[in-house]
Amino acid sequence: MKSLEVKLGKLILQNPITTASGCFGYGTDFSDFLDLDLLGAITLKSITKEPRVGNPTPRVAETPSGMMNSIGLANCGIKEFIEVKLPALTHLKKVKVIANIAGHSTEENIELAETLNSQKRVDAIELNISCPNVDAGGLAFCQDMSQLKVLLKKVRAKTDKPLIVKLAVNVNDIVNLAQTCEGEGADILSLINTVTGLEVDIENRKLFFSRGYAGLSGPAIRPIALKAVYDVSKVVKLPIIGMGGIATVEDVVKFLMVGADAVSIGMMNFVEPDISQRLVRELQNYLDSKNLGLKDLTLN
């Protein structure tokens, strides 16, 4: 049996299969379907300082080989997160827990990072600067590079846990953005967040989502995600968690080959709630049957 262990800097995963933020609840939603402790890591739903109700409904729409969402970072807030959600995961010994923060301001993110830094069950902090579904924060952080640098520097200063920064393609230049993150002390990059799109409710002659735009995810965006990972990994030395449309072990291998060090499963968790565990097993089989190590999953 080939080893599946991967080292993302200081963050060591027993295997490269992780789950994507917003697509795995707070973890326990999936315990009926799989053994969480068999996964590399689970990334929990983005949290903010206060509980957020999120956007008006409808919040989800189906699209060909994908879905769109405008959840709007609905979450329980940091207090309940620490008092209820994290303790529910303390019995897990092998899986790493990544807390994803999505404050609407630099200050909020600093505070969230500082609070989480003292949480034992948090193995890494993912800073979400790429949510398309909110007015303040989210993708707006990527519009002003100098402000973004301040945000990164300050969040970095507040935590000695591995700091992951999550990127999207709906920015001027994702490669440049990635380099900025690298320069400001990010330990790991994760990409891609959903791709901004639009859906129309023709029956009622209006935009389907109340905010108009929403985020597209799923197999439909896989070629776009693969390109982003490939482009970023060519110029940045940081470990990369690749995601966007992963549905099969072949997809996992594609992401690893173009430069990802680990992968995240997003919306397919909704379609097939035990998919992440299946992919761990299938990746093991893939490597064993081809007699390849994880390190061999590169482009020739």
């Binding site: 939603d29 009926d32 080989s65 969402n69 919306m267």
Partner: protein
């Protein structure tokens, strides 16, 4: 209750009224675990471009088999209508909460259109210990599916020239109804509740929402209640009507 994910087998799938199908599905464990009010999530074809599972109320359970009653509405249900005996589908369930069960009550069960689907299962459970009347409301007679319950009232909007909720005062009074369950279009549920409330009748409703996961993970399926936003998929689909409309 543990949620199960299974490959299940279609054992019947036939048209029972205009645009309406009844599908019987053989499961390993899901059917036996289902209670009235629960729903299941069903895939609409393997390798389909429609990835999300579709939610349907549990219409009936017999041993390892469960039934759903569904209307063809869009692409997914259209594909489902082509399922044939022996086809395999991905099934997730039981999902959601349950209707409250009572004993020795006079009960009215009101299903509008496909709202009848989960209520038939409920009626079967309730009718042992209660005096249950079922009011089945449809727009036109051709969309009336056969529903085998002890006391059935049928309301055809087109024929009566009004909606079922418009006549509800009479029905509640005549039946001395103590408990009301409604499932159907939003307006039907809301208006029925308002009348029931005036009669002091305890009411539960089963709501719909656009879902991605069906088990609480995506936060897509929320509805407003007096207690804030609630997820239809795991804090519902059954709600006390007073929690929804006050």
């Amino acid at each position: 209750m543990t949620k199960l994910l299974e490959k299940a087998l279609i054992v019947a799938n036939a048209k029972v009224a205009d645009g309406i199908y009844k599908c019987r599905i053989k499961t390993s464990g899901i059917a036996k675990a289902c209670l009235p009010g629960n729903f299941i999530n069903i895939s609409v074809g393997s390798n389909s471009q429609f990835l999300l599972k579709r939610p349907f109320g549990v219409h009936n359970v017999q041993g390892n088999e469960l039934e759903i009653l569904y209307r063809v509405r869009g692409k997914g249900t259209d594909l489902m209508s082509n399922l044939v005996v022996g086809d395999s589908i991905d099934l997730l369930g039981p999902l959601g909460n349950e209707f409250s069960l009572f004993k020795g009550k006079r009960i009215l069960v009101l299903g509008g259109g496909m709202g009848i689907a989960p209520l038939f299962f409920l009626e079967k459970k309730l009718s042992k210990d209660n005096d249950v009347t079922t009011l089945y409301a449809v727009k036109t007679r051709k969309e009336l599916a056969e529903i085998n319950v002890s006391k059935l009232l049928v309301h055809v909007d087109e024929e009566e020239g009004c909606f079922a909720c418009d006549n509800l005062d009479d029905v509640l009074e005549k039946n001395k109804t103590e408990v009301l369950y409604v499932c159907g279009p939003d307006q039907l549920m809301k208006k029925s509740y308002q009348k029931a409330k005036a009669h002091g009748v305890y009411t539960e409703v089963s709501l719909e929402a656009r879902m991605a996961c069906g088990f609480g993970a995506c936060v897509g399926c929320v509805v407003e209640t007096v207690n804030g936003l609630k997820k239809v998929c795991n804090e519902g689909p059954v709600f006390k009507a007073e929690d929804v409309w006050g």
